[in-house]
């Protein structure tokens, strides 16, 4: 019978078009650009928990698409995740895993652990073989203590005391490598994170605008949105803008349409609902 002719759609990601796209780029076709975050994201472990930091510029090629976007994503009440790479990918993947963590919390009745989020994220990214372009810095505090991890688009992970990702990662890492030490206090940690992000903002073209910071400690978290705004808009003209006069109006004449045209009602059906 014709059951074989009917194509049951395969589940999962279809890689068919990836081969075609590769072939087209080899032949010289410029692939459409997508919104990359071109970022500086950092994280470090201090004496009581984890501090995450991010800049707020989203770029589309050479253009700044969003001057104040949010790159620190909520995963669980005690876990946050910074995302670099393609903005849609980081948003979608963190949303998805955040949802899965929530269901898991209801099922177990317990607080989520950072390693759970880590494993869910890396499994997802590995399954998509690097086509989901999300580089993440995951940090949080759970029953086993504070944790900080980096996750690469292909699915590999590192566990570190301090980490940076994104186009500004080298600038930020330079700051961390010279000034990080164990047992930082909260204020020292926040200052160091801010310094590292500023280094990325000022030395990397793909990063800019403001600094977002998130401090996670046992039992509490503080999301400091726009903790520092080192790039305020200072060029607004105080006089306002004036435009030159338009074309002069010489004559105004209004003719109602009824004098020219006869409007006849033709029995009209009301529009059926």
């Amino acid at each position: 019978m014709s059951t074989e002719a009917m194509d049951v759609p395969k589940t999962g990601f279809s890689f068919d078009l990836c081969r075609r796209n590769d072939m087209l780029t080899k032949k010289g076709l410029k692939s459409p650009g997508y919104l990359k975050t071109g970022t500086t994201i950092v994280g470090l472990i201090f004496e009581n928990g984890v501090i995450l930091g991010a800049d707020t510029r989203a770029t589309e090629g050479p253009i700044v698409a969003d001057k104040n976007c949010e790159k620190i994503h909520y995963m669980a009440p005690n876990i946050y995740c910074c995302g670099a790479g393609t903005a849609a990918d980081t948003e979608a993947v963190t949303d998805n895993i955040s949802s899965q963590l929530k269901l898991h919390r209801y099922h177990t009745g317990r607080e989520s652990r950072v390693v759970t989020a880590l494993t869910l994220l890396k499994s997802h990214l590995f399954r998509y073989q690097g086509h989901v372009s999300a580089a993440l810095v995951l940090g949080g505090v759970d029953v086993t203590g504070p944790h900080l991890h980096t996750i690469y688009p292909h699915g590999s992970t590192d566990t570190l005391p301090f980490a940076t990702m994104g186009s500004g990662s080298l600038a930020a890492m330079a700051i961390f490598e010279s000034e990080y030490r164990e047992g930082l206090t909260r204020d020292e940690g926040v200052n160091l994170v801010t310094k590292a992000i500023c280094s990325g903002i000022f030395n990397d073209l793909g990063s800019g605008s403001n600094v977002d910071v998130c401090v996670i400690e046992k039992g509490k978290k503080e999301y400091l949105r726009n903790h520092l705004t080192p790039n305020p808009r200072t060029y607004i003209s105080s006089k306002g803008y004036t435009f030159s006069k338009k074309t002069e109006v010489l004559l105004t004449k209004i003719t109602p349409l009824k004098e020219l045209v006869d409007v006849v009602q033709v029995g009209g059906d009301a529009m059926e609902e």
Partner: protein, 251 residues
């Protein structure tokens, strides 16, 4: 009864126009432990008796009242394992709605989807209906709401309802004591009194479970808070209950 010839297959109507398996499922519910719910003007309370088969059972491991979303909770009468399946499915549906619309699911929507699942099992081959009735309590933009969902998949919104063993007495009691402008504290008190009506043995904080949701839209459950029971000189039970310090599910 002529119906008995038609009571083996779920997907066959009996001559009297009933699906006998669903009737049997309702019987299973009717022999389950009593549970009830009351909708107050500023919140909803659901309660159930928690009779364990033996004193050796660790009562802290038994949780009859479950959370579906931060602002919706549920209690059941009937077969516990069946309710677990429904709770799991409902939680997932609520989460999928949230992912899609970035909005907490309204209570009516969740009830509708749960009822649709229950109805599915009354019209498929090789499965049996769920042997539970659920009381879903929630607080959303439309205010406090209480719904009952039956094994057939039908659902109703109630001001106060009871299910299980003692249903007729409990409902009569609730009809007498329910007022439209009842506040949550009164509703909790009434709920406990209603449970006490049909209770075999001594009622205490350990053999009932209470779930409460008020205007802050956070569902709370009783076993993990202090519930003191004082028996006044007239023998009337007064239960004081600091449910604000109650166990809150992890967000």
């Amino acid at each position: 009864m002529g119906d008995s010839q038609y009571s083996f297959s779920l997907t066959t109507f009996s001559p009297s126009g009933k699906l006998v398996q669903i009737e049997h499922a309702l019987t299973a519910v009717g022999s389950g432990q009593t549970s009830l719910g009351i909708k107050a003007s500023n919140g909803v309370v659901i309660a159930t008796e928690k009779k364990l088969p033996s004193i050796l059972v660790d009562e802290t491991s038994v949780q009859k009242i479950q959370i579906l979303t931060p602002n919706i909770g549920v209690v059941y009468s009937g077969m516990g394992p069946d309710s677990r399946v429904l709770v799991r499915k409902s939680r997932k549906q609520a989460e999928q709605y949230n992912l899609l619309y970035k909005e907490p699911i309204p209570v009516t929507q969740l009830v509708r989807e749960t009822a649709a699942v229950m109805q599915e099992f009354t019209q498929s081959g090789g499965v049996r209906p769920f042997g539970v009735s659920l009381l879903v309590a929630g607080y959303d933009d439309k205010g406090p709401q209480l719904y009952q969902v039956d094994p057939s998949g039908s659902y109703f919104s109630w001001k106060a309802s009871a299910m299980g063993k003692n249903v007729s007495n409990a409902k009569t009691f609730l009809e007498k004591r329910y007022t439209d402008d009842m506040e949550l504290e009164d509703a909790i008190h009434t709920a406990i009194l209603t449970l006490k009506e049909g209770f075999e043995g001594q009622i205490s904080g350990k053999n009932i479970e209470i779930g409460v949701i008020e205007a802050d839209r956070t569902f709370r459950r009783s076993p993990d808070c202090s519930s003191n029971r004082r028996l006044s000189s007239r023998g009337r039970v007064a239960v004081s209950f600091s449910f604000r310090r109650c166990f809150k599910y992890p967000e």
